[in-house]
């Protein structure tokens, strides 16, 4: 007899944000020459004191020339037991095969001699969306479709995380010092890339969560980040409105998604994106000529929720581009340098000098002003 009235209870936003400080390093060969990871591993190892061995990672562009037309999904299956990992993998593969054509998949090679804490099962899949993915006509682009599927996996399948998803690029990360993670994945022996970025992490908590290491990525956008975003809650709700599920419990994720939203989906030029993430202060804007003032005012008005507040220095990588940016009042260090065709961005100059003692140019970029390295020739990349 009777009715049962169910009052839907809105969940509180009970996410835990991890806090960390870090070292970041990036090197791009603008001529498109692909090099091994040994230099970047040496450089990031030199900033060991900026990390505490609880997270390191690398992003590499140009590593899968044989599969350059396929999305390379790097998956992490966590879980306490091998069975749990396998279950997550089966569930993921079920999901994947219903939506994608998988042309190749394999466990990502690693060196078991390198002892890292609780390594998950790490697998890669080279995929293309199944024909007919756009039949519904409501998904604006293939990239959006892929991004939606990644969000679905990360938010919906327990113990399975897509941590890399671009074409001809890949992220490698884990719990350990970055050079250990590099050795674990044998980056110096297995891969050659024209652009490498790297990250060493100093989280304040000790939970060994591989997904929490940097880089964070979506499609071919990767982010390594040093800082704490005090606007996290604001950035997060804005991105969630555009379908980005923030599941990795770290503020770096919001920078990756913001970069994806602005650069890939809204196709805003890089100068504009930098002014959104780290806008000039009103006092400076108000003094500009009318046209610029109007542009910057409008950007702050429309994209206020994407302002990244608090201290940060980031290296954002995309295919053919590497961007360094610090917060608007420059609370975290960043140094840029060039030598020949190689462009470096680093937390510390010493790391750059270590692998390239002679430099053509070294400078400290201003707060909110992006430094951009671009591939000059794509010929070598496409070989």
């Amino acid at each position: 007899m009777g009715f049962e009235i169910i009052m839907p209870r809105i969940r509180r936003e009970l996410y835990n944000k991890e806090i960390c400080a870090c070292s970041i390093f990036g090197a791009m060969n603008q001529g498109g020459e692909r090099v091994s990871a040994s230099g970047v591993m040496k450089a990031i190892a030199n900033m060991r004191v900026r990390g505490n061995g609880l997270g390191g990672g690398f992003a590499a562009y140009g590593i899968y020339p044989d599969y350059k037309d396929y999305y390379a999904f790097h998956l992490m299956f966590t879980g306490k037991s091998p069975q749990a990992k396998q279950e997550a993998k089966l569930e993921l593969e079920d999901f994947l095969s219903s939506r994608f054509d998988v042309v190749n998949d394999e466990e990502i090679p690693h060196d078991d001699e390198v002892k890292l804490r609780d390594p998950p099962l790490v697998w890669r899949y080279f995929v293309l969306p199944k024909e007919g993915w756009d039949d519904s006509g409501i998904v604006p682009s293939e990239g959006d479709y892929i991004a939606d599927q990644i969000m679905a996996v990360n938010a919906g399948i327990d113990n399975a995380y897509v941590f890399s998803s671009g074409k001809n690029m890949g992220c490698f990360k884990g719990v350990g010092y970055p050079e250990e993670v590099g050795e674990y994945f044998m980056l110096d022996r297995m891969y050659r890339a024209h652009t490498w970025t790297a990250h060493g992490r100093f989280p304040t908590n000790t939970r060994a969560w591989w997904g929490g290491a940097h880089p964070f990525s979506l499609l071919d956008t990767t982010v390594v980040h040093n800082g704490e975003v005090s606007s996290y809650g604001t950035n997060r709700w804005y991105l969630e409105m555009y379908g980005y599920a923030c599941t990795l419990q770290t503020d770096t994720e919001v920078i990756a998604y913001a970069a994806d939203l602005l650069m890939r989906r809204q196709k805003l030029p890089l100068e504009v994106v930098a002014k959104i993430l780290a806008p000039p202060i009103w006092n400076s804007i108000d003094r500009l000529p009318e046209k610029e003032r109007k542009l910057l005012t409008t950007l702050r008005m429309v994209y206020g929720p994407l302002l990244m507040n608090g201290p940060f220095a980031v290296i954002i990588g995309t295919t053919g581009r590497m961007i360094g940016l610090t917060d608007r009042i420059r609370l975290r260090p960043i140094t840029a340098a060039t030598r020949g065709e190689t462009f470096y961005i680093s937390s510390e100059e010493a790391s750059i000098r270590l692998i390239s003692p002679e430099l053509d140019r070294v400078w400290t970029p201003n707060g909110g002003e992006p430094v951009v390295a671009e591939l000059k020739s794509t010929k070598k990349v496409l070989i």
């Binding site: 009970l14 304040t204 604001t234 709700w237 100068e271 504009v272 202060i281 429309v302 302002l307």
Partner: protein, 504 residues
């Protein structure tokens, strides 16, 4: 009929100090104090006292103390003194009990159960005395995305933008009409708003013609169900137009202005005959549904040449979040929500103290609702009803508001003591009255300076709190519940507020 109601206040006069100067007699419009020439002393009729403290503040000798009188009744948890005396008053008059100001009932004040965050070690706090700290806020519709054409480094905005209000601090003066408050109080609010680079809201009583040129640039004009004082010039002289659907102090009913307060000038501004009651209908008689509101919004946009944001003010009631979502779809650029503790010049006490929900809960659920619908950027939220200090403003913004309206706080800055007798028109402080003898007591220069000081003080405090959280632009706090924690709240309350408990 003899009244059985005891005096609410006790007046204690120190005869040693009293110099028989009769200042108290002159100051009290309620006629409490009279001079007895035979005894050469002042006597007080406590039954008339509103407890506004005017005599106590202005007694040159400091000889007067006015304090709530103790209850004479046998203590009774159910039949409090207030309940007994309200009942007696109704038995004596047969009428609706009127009151003024916001509800004074002990509903939970959520502001006082929320604490703020500060940076330690991993993130530097920012010193607002040495670093920029930005409070500039835009109120109005923002596009979903911006299209930009870039050619040879020349960047041009392609997206057509909606008009927005710009405030240099997220505090606006809430709707208080000329008629409800005196001309001097009204003008003080306008002056302070312009000086503080924010806005005042005219309320539903129109904007006196001679004020339009000077103060139109910092005015939000209201269109309420009574349509008082509205013409094309009124709409166009201001920077935004607000449709008043509801008021937190009296959701579901319209404004009340007794004929006694309708002076010649009020009558002219409102476009009604002098001395007539200005009673706004409970609903807008051209809005019986959401599509009707959409039409009124369109009509106002048309009338103002699409140059001004249109705000819709509603009272926070049970289903308001769904209603507000509809209002955004209907084309509103700003939603003002007025909570349970919002003030009024006159409202039935039964309604003021029993209808609506607290604004803290309202902001949070509205913000979340609009985010879930993916339309949070299409409107700004201004919250009203119970903002008492700068910390309340910071908490409101972290819960999702874009800015706040202050009403009672502004009146208190001018001298109001929340005696709740606004509806009598006898305000001794010259605020809520049209009696020239009383309103002349409020000096526009002084009152506007007090208001400007208040805004400046709160803005400084907001900067301090932001800097402590490691945030240097207010937009990074908006909806940032990460910086809030609840203390002493039930699980469901934390859920509605969307915040964690302290220590979680």
């Amino acid at each position: 009929m003899r009244s059985f109601v005891f005096p609410e206040f006790q007046i204690i006069r120190d005869e040693e100090k009293c110099g028989q100067c009769r200042a108290c007699e002159r100051h009290c419009s309620f006629g409490v104090h009279t001079y007895d020439p035979v005894a050469d002393r002042l006597v007080s009729d406590e039954r008339k006292c509103a407890g506004c403290q005017r005599c106590a503040v202005f007694c040159p000798k400091g000889a007067i103390i006015v304090r709530p009188s103790p209850s004479y009744y046998r203590p009774n948890a159910s039949w409090s003194r207030e309940k007994i005396e309200d009942l007696k008053r109704q038995a004596e008059t047969g009428g609706v009990l009127l009151t003024g100001c916001g509800s004074d009932k002990p509903f939970r004040i959520y502001w006082d159960h929320i604490v703020l965050n500060a940076s330690q070690v991993t993130n530097p706090s920012i010193d607002p005395l040495r670093e920029p700290m930005e409070l500039r806020t835009f109120l109005g519709r923002k596009p979903d995305l911006m299209e930009i054409a870039a050619e040879d480094g020349d960047i041009e905005i392609k997206t057509e933008l909606s008009p927005n209000l710009v405030v240099e601090t997220p505090i606006l003066f809430s709707a208080m009409s000329y008629g409800a408050i005196s001309y001097n109080a009204f003008r003080s609010l306008a002056t302070a708003a312009c000086r503080s680079k924010t806005y005042f809201n005219t309320g539903e009583g129109g904007l006196p013609r001679e004020m339009r040129d000077e103060f139109g640039r910092c005015a939000i004009v209201q269109v309420a169900s009574g349509r008082f004082g509205i013409d094309a010039e009124y709409l166009n002289c201001a920077q935004a137009v607000e449709i008043k659907v509801g008021q937190g102090a009296k959701p579901g009913i319209g404004g009340h202005l007794p004929g006694e307060k309708v002076s010649a000038s009020v009558a002219e501004t409102r476009m009604i005959p002098p001395g007539t009651d200005a009673i706004s209908p409970a609903p807008h008689h051209d809005i019986y549904s959401i599509e009707d509101l959409a039409m009124l919004i369109s009509a106002l946009k048309e009338a103002t040449n699409y140059e001004k944001p249109i705000s819709v003010k509603i009272a926070a009631v049970h289903n308001f979040a769904a209603i507000a979502t509809g209002i955004v779809h209907a084309g509103a650029d700003i939603i003002a929500i007025d909570g349970l503790r919002g003030g009024t010049g006159a409202a039935p006490k039964a309604i003021r103290d029993n209808v609506g929900i607290p604004t803290e809960l309202a902001i949070s659920s509205l913000d979340r609702r609009l985010r879930d619908e993916g339309i949070r950027n299409r409107c700004s939220i201004i919250t009203a009803g119970g903002i008492r200090c700068s910390a309340d403003v910071v908490k409101a913004i972290a819960l999702g508001a874009d800015a706040v309206y202050i009403g009672s706080a502004a009146l208190i800055a001018m001298g109001c003591t929340l005696c709740q007798k606004c509806y009598t028109g006898k305000c001794n402080w010259g605020i809520c009255t049209q009696d020239p003898r009383l309103s002349g007591r409020l000096n526009v220069d002084i009152a506007s300076a007090r208001l400007t000081n208040l805004i400046s003080a709160w803005s400084h405090e907001i900067r301090e709190m932001l800097g402590g959280m490691g945030i240097n632009a207010l937009e990074s706090l908006r909806g940032n519940r990460d910086h809030l924690r609840g203390i002493g709240l039930y699980e469901w309350e934390l859920d509605v507020l969307g915040i964690k408990g302290a220590g979680e």
